[in-house]
């Protein structure tokens, strides 16, 4: 997908004034994050499992070449094929060729963020192959020509009414000409339409939540069962996975599955977790005859061995965005590229460049909720801070901001001066509008007050002054 991350500020303004989006986002807190809290509380071992999950991913990354080679040997021994793709372009080309060799006209696709990352659908369409997204949320946004706004709930920005309008507009020609109002009717209509697509598809393309070195298995986690139909009915199954998905053993998978579903949706377990190992066997009655795994790097290997390596532990559960006050206010599209929320603010600058996505790691209050819920304990605010430092080092910030920061630093390093100036500012601001409790406009701060009020200083002086007087509440 084409990035609009550089236009983040404009995207945010649009998102804040989008009534449908704000309505959808208001449901996030009661939905995912509350259910995650309950699931974590039900399992006394949850925190210990998070530690173990972090350690498994760290171990896998430290031995990544070894486990990838082990995985490959297993797949090849079973008659499957492994393809190595250093770049997004390589992955697109490989998958396009495999689809052509299979004589594919339509492809059943199971939602894959890596496929979004490499813009696979555009490439397949250019080759005259129709990719059909089969995850309900991903199908809805494909019909609407939109990118996903969340990594596990791609249509979370839409209301039921918007979905109803979309279906009426696209399913009418298939004979479904009634506008539906109930959720279960919408789901049933999509099921009926997509069932035929599954049957017609020549190739199934899925992502992978994990790859298991011990057995050469690729793992798919879904609630709908769409990945399973995609990897069972078509003659060819292509798995697209990035290098950091590989883990050593089935036991490691058990640990990661126990934190994944609970962190993502608050379920004890997703409805379907499927382990696919090679093509169908000689005595199998169904399943694909050809099995390909495309392993993508796309800049990830450059992060290994650096202070940013921890981002590669991510298992794409979405908990960080479900708990992020910034994501909760602006939704996923405003981030402008494939991965939204805190993990997007960390991944996107790596994958598409700091010049393009530099605003994203700045869109954080560092409240720390993302890190506190991350199942593999990625220090997301710390990684965002790294990007801010690099941005500063590389002089990507406007000079006014650089000078402002330099002035701030000068004052902050001199406590007496700092206290004198903040005390003075406090008294001056108080003259203007303590009675109202907040300012709706201030000289030189129009950018801040355009979309919110600045609280007025309250009686008692600065925090430092109150602390010194012992009001340590």
């Amino acid at each position: 997908m084409r990035s609009t991350a550089h236009a983040f500020r404009g995207n945010v303004t649009g998102a804040l004034s989008d009534a449908n989006l704000q309505d959808s986002l208001s449901k996030l807190k009661k939905g995912f994050s509350e259910r995650r809290r309950q699931a974590a509380e039900r399992l006394p071992e949850f925190e210990a499992l998070r530690d173990a999950a972090r350690d498994i991913k760290n171990h896998s990354l430290a031995n990544l070449d070894f486990y990838l080679e082990t995985f490959e040997a297993k797949v090849v021994a079973l008659g499957g094929h492994v393809h190595w793709a250093p770049t997004a372009e390589d992955a697109r080309r490989i998958i396009g060729e495999l689809c052509r060799e299979a004589g594919a006209r339509t492809v059943a696709k199971s939602k894959s963020m890596v496929a979004e990352e490499i813009a696979l659908n555009d490439h397949l369409e250019a080759l005259g192959i129709a990719p059909i997204e089969t995850d309900l949320g991903e199908y809805i946004i494909q019909l609407r020509g939109e990118p996903p706004s969340h990594i596990i709930a791609p249509a979370v920005h839409l209301t039921k009414d918007q979905v109803a309008d979309t279906f009426l507009a696209h399913h009418g020609k298939l004979g479904y000409d009634k506008r539906l109002t109930e959720r279960n009717d919408l789901v049933a209509e999509a099921r009926a339409v997509l069932r035929q697509k599954f049957i017609d598809a020549d190739v199934g393309i899925t992502g992978a939540n994990f790859l298991i070195a011990e057995t050469g298995s690729s793992i798919l986690v879904t609630n709908e069962g769409n990945a399973d139909l995609s990897n069972t009915l078509p003659r060819t199954h292509i798995v697209l996975a990035s290098i950091e998905k590989v883990i050593p053993t089935l036991e490691d998978l058990g640990v990661l599955l126990r934190v994944l579903a609970r962190s993502a949706t608050g379920q004890e377990s997703s409805a379907y977790t499927t382990l696919n190992t090679g093509p169908r066997r000689a005595d199998d009655l169904d399943g694909p005859e050809a099995y390909h795994v495309v392993i993508l790097d796309n800049g990830r290997s450059q992060v290994l061995g650096t202070e940013m390596q921890e981002m590669l532990r991510c298992i794409r559960c979405g908990a960080c965005m479900n708990h992020c006050p910034v994501y909760g206010a602006i939704g996923g599209h405003a981030y402008g590229w494939v991965y939204p929320g805190p993990i997007g603010a960390v991944l996107n600058p790596q994958l598409i460049g700091l010049e393009e996505a530099g605003d994203l790691p700045n869109a954080s209050t560092f409240c720390g909720r993302c890190e506190s819920v991350c199942p593999v304990r990625i220090p997301l605010p710390g990684l965002m801070r790294h990007w801010r430092e690099r941005e500063f080092e590389r002089h990507l910030k406007p000079s006014a901001m650089r000078q402002g920061l330099a002035l701030w630093r000068f004052v902050a390093e001199r406590p007496r001066l700092y206290r004198a100036l903040t005390g003075l500012a406090n008294r001056v601001l108080a003259l203007f509008g303590r009675a109202e409790g907040a300012y709706s406009a201030l000289p030189l701060a129009g950018g801040w007050t355009a979309a919110r009020d600045l609280p007025a200083p309250q009686p008692g002086g600065t925090f430092h002054a109150q602390w010194a007087r012992g009001r340590r509440r």
Binding site: E45, V187, G225, L229, L257, Y272, T273, D284, L285, G305
Partner: protein, 223 residues
């Protein structure tokens, strides 16, 4: 250089080493040969009767229905359940030796076809390789006795699960898979299934029957 060599090289350069050798390689190989268990939830650390009860409880929480019967009652239970739910007395059934043990001929009205599921099938009947008490999860292993399409295509899935196949957690399932297929080997597809298919993609509200079965009935068979 091949794309493969290029990628492995890039990984090794970043990790500041060549191919994994010496003690580090020995340690990784040992980890593959003798997998390390993580923290296993105590929830399912029960005697077998407790595990069976826990499985049934979670399966129902996951929107499946459960019946516990003796081996002689399995066909009657299934025929009765289909009738009570106004479902057709016609099913695609897995061609497994395990299901041959039951006296299907006793149910004259139950029409069974053995083999894969086709799009028109309304009901599937299968066995299960194992089941996990910790979360109420079924484990299906593909093979000549268990086509994968039976788990997915029909709107109704009836699963015949032997009590002795219910275990505590994933770890015992992995051991049983290794015992059945060999170390490091797997059937083409292992489906672990926790209740009927569902989606929360419209306004985060769960609806059942997204792509896979809309309803699931688990018949737990006493030994």
């Amino acid at each position: 250089m091949s794309a493969r060599g290029q990628m492995l090289d890039a990984i090794r350069r970043s990790l500041k080493r060549g191919p994994l050798t010496g003690p580090a390689r020995d340690a990784a190989e040992a980890r593959l040969a003798a997998p390390v268990r993580g923290p296993v939830p105590k929830r399912a650390d029960l005697d077998h009767a407790g595990q069976v009860a826990l499985f049934c409880q979670w399966a129902e929480t996951n929107n499946a229905s459960v019946a516990r019967v003796g081996a002689g009652e399995v066909p009657a239970e299934i025929a009765g359940w289909l009738k009570r739910n106004n479902l057709p007395a016609r099913a695609a059934m897995a061609p497994s030796a395990e299901l041959d043990r039951y006296d299907w001929a006793s149910q004259k009205l139950l029409e069974l076809r053995r083999g894969i599921a086709v799009p028109d099938d309304q009901v599937a009947i299968t066995g299960a390789f194992a089941a996990i008490a910790e979360t109420g999860t079924l484990v299906m292993a593909s093979g000549p006795g268990h086509p994968v399409t039976l788990n997915l295509l029909p709107e109704t899935h009836v699963v015949v699960l032997r009590e002795q196949d219910i275990v505590g957690g994933y770890e015992t399932v992995w051991e049983r898979l290794r015992a059945a297929y060999g170390r490091g080997a797997m059937p083409r597809t292992v489906n672990t299934i926790t209740g009927p298919s569902r989606t929360g993609d419209i306004e985060q509200t769960i609806e059942l029957g997204a792509h896979g079965p809309r309803r699931m009935h688990i018949v737990v068979v006493r030994p």
